[in-house]
Every structure is written in C-alpha cells, then in structure tokens.
Amino acid sequence: MYIRATGNISPQKTFGHLSFLPEAVGYAGNRLTCIEPDYKELIDVKLIRRMSRIIRMGVAAAMECLQEASCTMPDAIVTGTAYGCMEDTGLFLTKMVEYKEELLTPTAFIQSTHNTIGAQIGLLLQCNNYNNAFVHRGFSFESALLDGMLLLKEREAANVLVGAIDEITNTSHTILNRMGLYKQQSISSLDLFTANKSKGTIAGEGAAFFLLANDPGATDYAKLDGLKTFYKPEGIDEIEKNIAAFLSDNSIGYNDIDLIIAGKNGDAKADKIYDQLQQGIFANNYLINYKNLCGEYPTAIAFAVWLAANIIKTGTIPHVLQYTGPEEKKMKRILIYNHYLSLHHSLLLISAC
C-alpha cells in the first residue's frame, strides 16, 4: 500500500507544502509547541469557533493531506489519540468543580470526546464512510494504522485517511511534569541528543495525517510495507527477537535497511534500549533520531512516518537529523523503531515506490 499524501502540523515548519524541513526550530525549556497555520483558509469560520486548538490542528492537517491527494471523499477516516481533546476536558472539569456541577454549558463537553476530530473531518467532508478512533496510549496511531491497512487489504476501502493527534496543555504539562516525565533542567531541544544524559524527556505534540491507498499513484511518497507492535517486552532479548521476526516476516535482513529512524527522547533510561540496539543488532546500520524536532508524546511515531516518507520522496536528509552516512546513499528502505515509556514498542517498514 502507498502513502499518497501527508499533512503535518508540528513544532517544526512542516505545514503548507513547504520544502522538506527548510530550517530547524529549537525550543528552550522542556516543552515544544506546534506551529499553527492560519486556519481560516482551511476550515469554515463558522465551524472554527467551537474547535479547540487540537481539533483545529487535526482538521487542518487532515484537510491539507486530502488536498495534496485531490481527494474529496476518503473511503475511511481513522484517528489515533492517546489523550484526546484535553483542553476541552480540562475546561469542562474546571467549570464543573468551580460551579459545583451547576450552570455548565455543553460545548466543551461535546468537543471533549475522543472521536471529535475524526467526526469533525467526516462532518466537514459530508463523509458517511467508515469512521473510527483508537485511544490506546503509545499504540494509538499504530492501531489506527493497522485498522486502515486492514481495510485496504480487505478491499473495503481503496484509500484511507489515517491520523495521529495529541496535544500538550498547561494542565497536562503540569501533571505529567509532576509525574517525572520531563527534564527538570532547561535544555535546548536541538541539543537533546548531545546534552549530558539525564532523567526525563521534552514534551511534544502534533497532528499528522496520511492518505494511504491500495493502488499506486504518480506522486506517492513511499510504500508502507509492514507494521508490528509489541507490549511490555521482558527485556532487550525479547525486543531483539521481535525485531528479527518482523524483518523475517517482511523477508528482509538488516543489510536491506538503508536507514533506521529511532525514537530516542533524551531520557537516560528510555534511551538505554536504543543504545543497546545500536550497539547490537543495528550496529551496521545508519540510524537517526527525531524527537529533538517534535518532542515526546504517545503518537510521536507519526512524525517519524512523515520524516521517512519525505526522506524517501526527496532523497535528502536534513542536516538537523545528524545523519552520518554517505551523502550519495539512496534511501530505498527505512525501518522505524519507537517505544513509548518502554511499554509500547512499534516497528514500521517504509520503502521507495
């Protein structure tokens, strides 16, 4: 199956059909925030007024993706989000507590449901087709992707719009910070991999959509060859076994992989897994990391898919990704390996058309 089009709103300049990462945007502190476009050109102004930031980002990314593919009616819309619409959830909760369950208004509640973004896209397009929403932590996007891939395989759909959306709000940042997820000392996000190892990562967010299609088109980015997830592996041996099985299922070996995109996030403990693999089974592969650009969040792997698709399509790797291999190397096959909180491990294989 083919990645026909993409739409990506992230802390980098990824939106609006720009060239591939024209410059890297750095952030100080432990929180990266999406660069948002002017939505009025993308969404009916009458609809925007009720949409919180994440809904706008999701809908706009979806619209850009569909526009790129000149697709007005996808056969299916499937979204993945771990946290859902947190701003609206927080707003309704706050008012509920402050007003002691009286005099509440419905808008924030209505918009807080986890299927809001997929539903809003369906509503905007007047699309009566399949519409689903997965909300499983570090597997949210992967589940949505699997659903989409199966719909294509089952010939229930010829194309599928699949997206990942997660936001960080002041409230969620405060709470996750208290849980110890983020770095306590200030660093520059672009130095994430070169700074001294320490506890915690940097918070990120994003909205990335992809149009997947069964049949090839003239302007496809890449092919999506395989997807595998595994939950709570016992240790590095089980992780390596899963990776080996995935490659064997796809009939390839480590030598067939031109580039690995890995999910290092700057947290000393989380990164140990990536380091072990880089010294072990990935030792002879070129490898880059990406979370210095988008931060860590449960659906960050969608940013890696966007990167892989663009690396293959443009044949270039932006300098900020610290690629150390030969420049002339053709990127025909990319393996993405990501884990979230060491619980949710994911593998994706993307290749040139």
Partner: protein, 399 residues
C-alpha cells in the same frame, strides 16, 4: 478471510446484575436497574436517576483482585472480561494468539475528577495515583495485565458506538489471521463528568426513561461492562462446548450531520444497518430481533425508527431497547447489548421494551412489551449509534 468468527463466551456486569445469569433473570422478570444514585457522589444524585452497578469499589476490588483505588471503569471491565473468558471454556490462553480490544469513553475520569478538585486549588496538590490511569488505554491495560493478555491490546473510543467497533475490529483481526482469540467489548463507569455533560445537553430524563415511547423525555445514564470472546473456526472446533453463535455482519458508517444530533432520516443508522445486512448476506426479512440503540431521547429514537422504517418495511422484526433496564452505558452499551443479542439466540428469547406505553405515532411498528421465550431466534441486529455521527451495527447469527 470469509471464515466465520464465533462467540465462544459472554460476560457482563450492569445495573441489573453482576453476571450473565443475574442479568438474564432481571430481563425475564422485567426488573429495571435504574433509580437514585447511591455510589456516585454528585449534587444531582437524588434528582437525576441513573443505572448504577449495585456494588461499591471495595466489593468490585474483592471480586477482581484489582486495588480498590483503581478506576471503577477498570474494575467493572475486569469483572465482565473474566466472566467472558471463564464462560468460553478456553483453558490454554497462553498458547494462543490472544487480544483484548476494549472500548470506553471515560477512562479513569472517576478518579481524575476527584483529583481535579484538589489540583485546581493548588497545582502541586492532588494525588498523582488518581490521574495516572486517566487515559482510556490505561484502563484497558490494567485489565489486560490481570487477564494475562499481551499479544494485542488496544482501545477504541467512538462515544456510544465504541464497543460495537471494538467487537467488529476484534473479529477482523481473527479473520485476517492476526489473532486466534479476542476478548472484545467495552466498559464505562458513571462519572460526574458524564452526568453533568449530558445534563448540559438537556437530554437526561428526570424520571425513568421510556425508549421508543411517543412521550419519551430523554435518557438515563448507566454503567457497566460487556464482553464477548471471539474465536476463529479452528479454535471453536477445539472447544468442548461448541459455540453456536457467529458474528455474521458488521458495518460502521457516519451520519455526518451534526456533532451530537442524528439526522432526521437516520441516514447514518440506515447505512450501518444496511451495510451489516450486506456483509452477512442476509435480507431484512431474515432478521428475527433488533436490539435497538433506543436511548429514549426524542432525536435518537425517531432517527433510528425512521431508518428502520426505510430499511425493513414491510417486514418488521421484533425489537426492543434494553436501555430501559440498564440505562445508557455509553462506551459499554455495544458490549452489553452484544451479550444480550447472543443470549437471545442461545436461549430463544426476546426482551421487553420496558415502560413502553404509547408507540411513536410516525412509526409503523411497535417494540415488544413482554418477555418472549421459546421462540426461534436465528439472526439478531444490534445497533449502536452516537456522538460524532458514529453509527455501527452488528449482526449475530445462529450457526
């Protein structure tokens, strides 16, 4: 890919019973589970009736072995999922490729809303253990870990159709030979967040709800969990107690009309039901019973009824909404009603649409008002429609 997927086991907990047998008794005896709230501490608990599970978190913790500090959503889920697995008679789970596909809409909100009261006064306050399982997926993992299921777990949240989509997705994972066994369904606990949310929409009935009645006033919220154990044909054949019900059809469509309201002609509902029929290769006249979404709101019931009128005229099957018993359990409703649908086939029974007095004038059919037994039930259509226009229908059939 066209091999049948069997229902090997069912598990349920709801306001009318803590297991399948208790729920079945209440359905037979016409006992509703809706009344004043005793467990949820809300300013509305004496004014707005709801269908609470009649066990506190301590009792649920004892039943399940989960800590009583965990979200009620997880506690309810584990009770029903355990029953479903036990009921399936599968003994070698670890040797099979097993999945847990669970739906919910509130996640750990019952704990988060208590955390928030303290957090808002001072953002250094509030016990973190009360928000650590806030995410919908976290609730699923608490349960999956207790069940010992690891091969594939995920969570679906499409409001009131969540569980139907979970069952549907689980069946497809089996059909695509990714898994052998899937425990699929959903769970939701009552929370202040949902009670107040639906209250702002002014669609809560301050009396006992009357789905599909001309004078219906709104819905009563409920809580609970319902799961089916889906297995491949090969696993079904290996079981001592041979499963006799299959999931023969399913469809997910979107109404694309309004964020909360259904279109007047019930377009999404029509597409979901007709798509499920097409998938199963059945004709409308083949359906023996429809377990209605039937929330009791003006809007849902007329939209759903109109879609049924469009699709089924002149062959109207027997039908009823069991939400007059269980309340509207939101993310759990498709799971609970999948269990009821399976039981209808297994036992040859049809449930009454409690409290139906005056049928809706514009509709040419009347849901059943009495419990019917000893009747052949071969094909059951189960509807789950909801916010965001998400409409899903499932068809269960005798095999």
């Amino acid at each position: 890919m066209n091999d049948p997927v069997f229902v090997a086991g069912t598990g349920i907990i709801s306001a009318i019973g803590n297991n399948t047998a208790e729920c079945l008794d209440a359905l037979k005896n016409g006992q509703t589970g809706i009344g004043n709230m005793h467990y949820l501490d809300s300013v509305h608990s004496q004014k707005i009736p709801a269908a609470e599970v009649k066990l506190g978190n301590n009792e649920l913790a004892q039943l399940t072995g989960l800590a009583n500090t965990k979200s009620r959503t997880a506690l309810l889920s584990l009770v029903a999922a355990k029953e479903a697995l036990y009921n399936s008679g599968i003994t070698n789970l670890s040797a099979l490729r097993t999945g847990f596909i669970s739906a919910n809409s509130v996640g750990g909100m019952d704990k988060t809303e208590n955390f928030f009261a303290e957090f808002l006064s001072d953002n250094r306050k509030g016990r973190l253990r009360n928000v650590v399982n806030h995410e919908c997926g976290s609730v699923t993992e608490l349960v999956a870990d207790k069940l010992g299921i690891k091969d594939y777990i995920t969570t679906i949240s499409t409001a009131c159709s969540s569980s139907a989509n979970a069952i549907f997705f689980g069946a497809r994972l089996i059909k695509n030979n990714i898994l052998d066994v899937v425990v699929a369904g959903g769970t939701d606990a009552l929370t202040k967040f949902t009670i107040n949310g639906f209250n702002t929409l002014m669609i809560l009935d301050e009396q006992l709800c009357q789905p599909f009645d001309e004078n219906r006033r709104g819905l009563n919220l409920g809580e609970g969990a319902g799961y089916v154990v889906l297995v491949s044909e090969k696993i079904a054949a290996s079981l001592q107690q041979k499963p006799a019900v299959i999931l023969s059809g399913y469809c997910n469509a979107n109404d694309a009309y309004h964020q909360t309201a259904s279109s007047p002609d019930g377009n999404g509902s029509f597409l979901a039901m007709s798509g499920a029929l097409k998938k199963s290769g059945l004709q409308p006249a083949d359906i023996d019973y429809i377990n209605l979404h039937g929330t009791g709101t003006q809007n849902n019931d007329i939209a759903e009824g109109t879609a049924i009128k469009r699709l089924f005229t002149p062959h109207f099957p027997k039908m009823s909404s069991t939400k007059a018993f269980t309340g509207h359990t939101l993310g759990a409703s498709g799971g609970i009603e999948a269990v009821f649908s399976t039981l209808a086939i297994q036992h040859g029974i049809i449930y009454p649409n409690l409290r139906l007095q005056t049928p809706i004038k514009e509709l040419p059919f009347t849901p059943e008002t009495t419990f019917i037994k000893n009747i052949p039930v071969k094909h059951v259509l189960s509807n789950s429609f909801g916010f965001g226009g998400n409409c899903s229908s499932l068809i269960f059939s005798k095999y």
